[in-house]
């Protein structure tokens, strides 16, 4: 994952400055402007000048120097590994005392020190006030834990099979529901195991396979999709079944036919369903009413393997993706075999860089970063595949440059 890593030396060296930008996804997902690092650097220069002018060093200079060195040298391993603010927590805190200690080192009047302290507190306080971390937008919160229980689930205990194996097919896994079920129930997330596990029957996958073949009742546990339910029913419609089936088939599983899903309603899940705004009040009411989780009986059944042979169009897209994987392997980690459909052609997801490569039907290759509105043209298929093609991997739209230079 290179989400918060700098792409150039310039970006890496200027990270303390970039951290002051009121943009999200600079060093953490949320907008968390932090002036303290750049202020500490400025105050350090002032303190250095001030101390050099004094006849003797102030007694408190050594611990301040130690903290300054510790924090700013720690940028090196931090920026080399993740650059994620959550993983820099000790120094995101200790930078505060460092700023005040540097003010304290200045050979100036007490009133001047008080003024500077208030100015620093005011500036950082203003940044915090303008970007309150608890606002509902640009937040980490998916659902709110208000009253007990933390995840309200409407189900009768006797309707739950305590011996069942619950299979989840996506992430987030919603494993927070698991402790609300009988402790004897078992939980498996099959999306964790990729084709390399299933094809090679890896040692890690063997016990999963054994559990799925154990004959115990198998249940698919997933977030319900009220908009993809049959009319007047809680059962998944054909569209939902079509979406679910490939995930199950990859592990020789299938929905029992006819589908007989339970709906466990959860009022906490209702707000997550409101993305479509053009629905009628009745349709919205239905979404609220039927938000929650499906529990659907599934069974082990070796399904006929679909041919892995790619069409000529898919092979063309694959060649484009693999060319970019050679040119920018840090962004597009090689090793994937398949290509997915995209409404304009084919795509390949690169979670390591939060991005997609999209090969359109009209012969163009695009880069699409998760945080941009529009894709970026890389070139025509002909150009990309030509032997002399090159691309500057530090120029990807949306993540290239300092926060204020980034395009959307």
């Amino acid at each position: 994952m290179i989400r918060f890593l700098a792409d150039t030396w310039r970006d890496a060296l200027l990270r303390p400055v970039a951290m002051a930008a009121p943009n999200s996804s600079v060093y953490i997902e949320i907008a968390a402007p932090d002036f303290r690092f750049i202020l500490a650097l400025g105050l350090a220069v002032l303190a250095l000048i001030s101390v050099r002018k004094a006849n003797r060093r102030p007694p408190d200079w050594l611990p301040t120097l130690a903290l300054f060195a510790l924090i700013f040298l720690s940028f090196i391993p931090w920026m080399h590994t993740t650059g994620n603010g959550r993983y820099f927590m000790p120094y995101l805190i200790l930078i505060g005392p460092l700023c005040i200690a540097l003010i304290n080192l200045l050979q100036s009047t007490a009133n001047m020190k008080v003024f500077l302290t208030i100015a620093v507190l005011g500036l950082q306080g203003f940044a915090l006030y303008q970007n309150t971390p608890w606002r509902p937008v640009d937040s980490w919160t998916w659902i709110e834990w208000k009253d007990a229980p933390y995840l309200p689930l409407e189900f009768a205990k006797e309707a739950i099979d305590p011996e069942a194996i619950y299979v989840t097919i996506a992430v987030p896994t919603y494993s927070l529901a698991a402790p609300l079920f009988p402790a004897s129930s078992r939980w498996i997330n099959i999306s964790t195991f990729g084709s390399s596990d299933t094809d090679k029957q890896s040692a890690l996958y063997a016990p999963v396979k054994k559990a799925l073949q154990s004959g115990k009742p198998l249940k698919l546990f997933m977030v319900s999709a009220p908009r993809s339910m049959k009319d007047g029913s809680i059962q998944p419609d054909q569209n939902a079944i079509n979406q679910i089936t490939p995930y199950l088939e990859a592990h020789d599983l299938r929905l029992k036919s006819p589908t007989n899903c339970q709906l466990i309603k959860s009022k906490s899940m209702a707000p997550t369903g409101f993305i479509v705004t053009e629905e009628s009040p009745a349709a919205r009411e239905r979404v609220i009413e039927q938000s929650g989780f499906w529990i659907c009986p599934i069974e082990y059944a070796v399904s006929p393997r679909q041919s892995n042979a790619l069409t000529a169009e898919q092979l063309g897209a694959k060649a484009l993706f693999e060319k970019m994987e050679q040119i920018c392997p840090r962004f597009f980690n090689p090793g994937q075999q398949g290509v997915s459909y995209h409404r304009s052609g084919f795509q390949r997801r690169y979670s390591v860089s939060d991005s997609f490569l999209i090969a359109t039907g009209d012969g163009h290759l695009y880069f699409k970063y998760d945080r941009t509105l529009n894709p970026q043209l890389i070139g025509t298929a002909e150009d990309v595949l030509s032997p002399g093609f090159s691309f500057d991997c530090t120029k990807f739209k949306g993540r290239a440059g300092l926060p204020w230079e980034r395009e959307i």
């Binding site: 408190d60 590994t81 927070l176």
Partner: protein, 280 residues
């Protein structure tokens, strides 16, 4: 403003005020911390919470290796014990607001080490120095990242507590002007190292920061050979602290996957499992 740094004797009232400084800071921060969930009326459940925070607390209560497989995807195998409080609060029927107040109170453990560092950086006596120290602690927490933790089930702030305590202890050894006995610095280097090892167990992400931490002892007062010894000792203590605190969980992962830090670096351990040895 009065400063007693230059030898003037502090008054009785001033001494009393200084004794009350840390309790005052703790009370103020407790009120600030708990005001977040009280004001919001809920705790936010993020992607991570839906995926693994609560589940890991459940696992901390009783391992489920015999039942589940990757129930929380690969995050199911993170060090689970620091998630136990939020799980216990959740499963015990606390409201989000009440759980938030309890967790906010637990987060108070991060405040004293910050104040201790501020006290070393600004050691003077008197109202002015006291105000500067309070401002230093205030500015420490004026970041959206730690404040966000007070509204969520994330434990990054709590996991940083041993690291902050380690820095605070190390600064006691650096603190001028009175010479610190070498035996005390040695003891501090070991204890601080052990605490950093604990922080690494809590979150592997502290690992890169832990690499530089022992260098703090370069700033202690003593001959260079002794300083080098303290740095080495502290680095050793970091490793030891990690082994001691992570050992049991690592052992469980080893039994399950033959990789004590699964799923990290599993490619290397795969070679081990295949019988071709652990290779770079």
């Amino acid at each position: 403003m009065t400063s007693h740094a230059k030898g003037a004797k502090p008054t009785e009232a001033m001494r009393l005020l200084e004794r009350l400084e840390l309790p005052f800071v703790l009370i103020v921060f407790w009120l600030i911390f708990i005001s977040v969930p009280l004001y919001l009326g809920h705790l936010g459940l993020s992607w991570d919470a839906l995926n693994h925070h609560i589940y890991l607390g459940w696992v901390a209560d009783a391992p489920r290796f015999d039942k589940d497989y990757a129930a929380a995807s690969n995050q199911a195998y993170q060090y689970p014990y620091l998630y136990w409080p939020v799980y216990k609060l959740a499963i015990s029927g606390f409201s989000g607001q009440a759980a938030g107040v309890v967790l906010a109170t637990l987060h108070l453990i991060t405040v004293p080490p910050v104040w201790m560092v501020a006290k070393v950086l600004i050691p003077a006596q008197g109202m002015h120095a006291m105000a500067m120290r309070v401002a230093a602690v205030l500015l420490a927490f004026m970041s959206a990242v730690p404040l966000k933790m007070l509204e969520s089930t994330g434990n990054d702030l709590l996991a940083a507590a041993p690291f902050l305590w380690a820095v605070a202890l190390a600064f006691q050894a650096i603190a001028p002007p009175a010479p610190v006995p070498h035996s005390r610095i040695t003891r501090t280097a070991v204890i601080a190292g052990l605490l950093v090892g604990l922080a690494v167990s809590f979150k592997f992400s502290h690992g890169p920061l832990a690499v530089l931490f022992p260098l703090l002892f370069v700033f202690c007062d003593g001959p260079w050979r002794a300083r080098l010894g303290w740095v080495t000792l502290s680095a050793f203590a970091v490793a030891l602290g990690f082994v001691i605190t992570y050992g049991y969980w690592g052992y469980l992962l080893w039994l399950q996957f033959e990789n004590p830090i699964y799923p990290f670096y599993d490619g290397y351990f795969q070679l081990w499992r295949n019988g071709s040895g652990l290779q770079p």
